[in-house]
């Protein structure tokens, strides 16, 4: 809770400069861009906000997603998104019952962070049932959300589609503000903790033996995931938001180094969101869905490109036998019976 209040303070504090940024800096830039490119769509304030939101999502999605995907924890993003929906519903429900006007995004943040820590506990102590538990939390969160929404009389079901499927037109000034703030916060957190996060992702046991607190960095990772998912869900929709943490990362997977794979992931995500938002506006179709389909399209293209690349490399290798020095063939001594008669490597 302390985190939340300090967050809100920061937000209030940053409000005036943010307005200046949104109108005089970013807005002016977009207007100039609109004139230069002859694209009047960039002059509308709501589209300017939508593009800004999309750009932010394109940064933080892969930034956190790269770690998540390589720890094989992508399912967590989806779980948190669905429980964030319960958070939205809780906010609306409480508002309705107590005549308050809390932002449902804030209650979603609280619920998602809480669930994130719970999920981390499950992963930490979990065995084979982790997968089942995640599925249960995911559907449970969503079920709770749907029940709360129908239990509340009045018009709260009205805006719910926007949360489910995402929407460009409902991206308010406040939600872009939150997204910009989160982008800053998440980026700073990842930059500061990049090394331990990478070590834990690459070789958790060795990291632990080297005195790095794997548990705390896991917690950090799931909380960051919760922040990303909640701040991106207004554009993407709760059902689709996890895609932005996964698909661009998968597309960028052929990058050589980890740093490059993050940067490539962000680049791919930016192309994805900007194309997606543009198409969505152009044809009046759902933003989240368009973005996800664009992302999958890019992934398929990259697969094709990779295959083509492999083929050319193979050709080159035949042309230059010197290359083969590096491709040592593993001989079959590895599968000889061991002294203890064990079969350890076949078991896994």
């Amino acid at each position: 809770m302390f985190e939340m209040t300090s967050l809100l303070t920061v937000k209030l504090f940053a409000f005036a400069p943010f307005n200046w940024f949104l109108e005089d800096a970013y807005g002016a830039f977009m207007e100039a861009l609109a004139k230069a490119l002859g694209l009047p769509v960039l002059e509308y304030a709501f589209m300017q906000r939508a593009y800004l939101a999309a750009i932010c999502i394109g940064v933080i999605g892969p930034l956190v997603g790269t770690f998540l995907v390589h720890r094989e924890m992508s399912m967590i993003a989806d779980t948190l998104a669905h429980t964030a929906f319960a958070g939205v519903a809780v906010g609306l429900f409480v508002n309705n019952a107590l005549s308050l006007s809390l932002s449902p995004i804030h209650s979603a943040l609280v619920v998602a962070i809480g669930t994130a820590l719970l999920v981390e506990l499950l992963v930490q102590y979990g065995d084979v049932t982790t997968d089942t538990s995640l599925a249960m939390i995911l559907t449970g969160g969503f079920a709770l959300g749907s029940v709360l929404i129908t239990a509340t009389d009045g018009g709260i079901a009205v805006g719910i589609d926007a949360y489910l499927f995402g929407s460009l037109t409902t991206v308010s000034r406040a939600s872009v503000g939150l997204l910009v703030l989160m982008t800053g916060l998440v980026s700073v957190a990842v930059v500061i903790t990049y090394r331990p996060l990478l070590y834990v992702t690459f070789d958790a046991t060795a990291a632990r033996a080297a005195g790095i607190s794997v548990v705390w960095y896991n917690r950090l990772m799931v909380v960051l995931t919760a922040l990303v998912v909640v701040s991106a869900m207004q554009v993407m929709g709760v059902i689709l938001v996890a895609a932005m943490l996964v698909i661009p990362v998968a597309t960028a997977d052929s990058a050589r180094s980890f740093k490059r794979s993050i940067l490539a992931g962000i680049l791919v995500a930016e192309v994805t969101v900007i194309t997606g938002v543009t198409l969505s506006y152009q044809y009046g179709i759902a933003a989240g869905g368009t973005i996800v389909l664009t992302g999958i399209g890019l992934y398929v293209l990259s697969l094709g490109g990779r295959r083509l690349g492999l083929r050319t490399r193979a050709w080159r290798r035949i042309g230059r036998p010197g290359e083969r020095v590096f491709t040592r063939i593993i001989d079959n001594t590895a599968s000889e019976p061991k002294a203890d008669g064990g079969t350890e490597d076949e078991e896994r």
């Binding site: 070789d203 046991t205 005195g211 790095i212 590895a334 203890d340 008669g341």
Partner: protein, 255 residues
């Protein structure tokens, strides 16, 4: 390394006193006492499921014993936080690491992380990394993805990571599974050279021939410690037959 190293230098690297550990009601390590002095090359042998990996995890403080005590460089192992002194290559670590987009240099650089979790690397950090890469002969391959290397090369990446950490204790759990014979020999020669420079090594290995050739001490366990001493004596006693029993171990091992 700081003054603390000098203070603790004469102490044993690992001391285990009457250590027992069970998974639920299945005892895995039973009343093991063992001391590893600095500079030792200890080969840890035993049948599958004999508790070798668990014993090593207890030594490194990754698990806490049910009873007994383990000290690592004189500190209770689970409280030990001088992570830069210890390097661990877990079983199958190299296989898992193969899927990630990480270059050889990135992986070796991780060895410096315990020294510098944040902030710019100093010249001495970079020097340690370069020397480690050179020591294991990977200087030409620094920009390759770890997953694109052969098993033997990949293994050397992990050793280089330990060298870059300038760790005093190097623990390896079946490091050469899936590595071709030629690379394996080169790998064990490398370990012996490293040991000669003063690094303490604990090696879990299923190939008893390899261990008795390279290690300076052998510990043979099957839940209990059946033997601890030099390789020559190990060859003369029937500790091996004791530990491996009548083939029962193979049947029991079904995890």
């Amino acid at each position: 390394m700081t003054g603390a190293t000098v203070e603790t230098a004469p102490k044993a690297v690992v001391t285990a006193d009457d250590v027992s550990f069970a998974f639920g009601d299945r005892p895995v390590v039973d009343d093991v006492s063992l001391t590893i002095e600095p500079g030792t090359f200890l080969g840890l042998v035993g049948p599958n499921g004999s508790g070798k990996t668990t014993l090593v995890e207890l030594m490194l403080g990754l698990r806490r014993p049910d009873s007994g005590q383990v000290r690592l460089f004189g500190t209770p192992a689970h409280e030990f936080d001088d992570g830069e002194r210890v390097a661990y290559v877990a079983q199958h670590a190299t296989k898992a690491a193969g899927r990630m987009p990480v270059t050889v240099r990135e992986a070796v650089t991780m060895g410096r992380y315990p020294h510098r979790l944040i902030g710019r690397f100093s010249d001495s950090d970079r020097q340690a990394i370069d020397e480690a890469l050179e020591r294991v002969g990977l200087t030409e391959l620094t920009e390759r993805r770890v997953g694109r290397l052969s098993g033997g090369q990949r293994q050397r990446v992990f050793i280089a990571r330990a060298l870059a950490a300038q760790a005093d204790l190097l623990v390896l759990d079946e490091p050469t599974v899936g590595v071709d014979a030629e690379s394996r020999d080169a790998f064990y020669d490398l370990l012996r050279d490293l040991n000669a420079t003063g690094i303490t090594i604990v090696l879990i290995e299923h190939d008893i021939g390899v261990v008795t050739t390279h290690a300076t001490e052998i510990a043979c366990i099957n839940r209990k410690l059946h033997f601890h001493g030099d390789p020559e004596t190990f060859a003369e006693t029937n500790a091996l037959a004791d530990a491996y029993g009548d083939g029962r171990a193979v049947l029991e091992h079904d995890h």
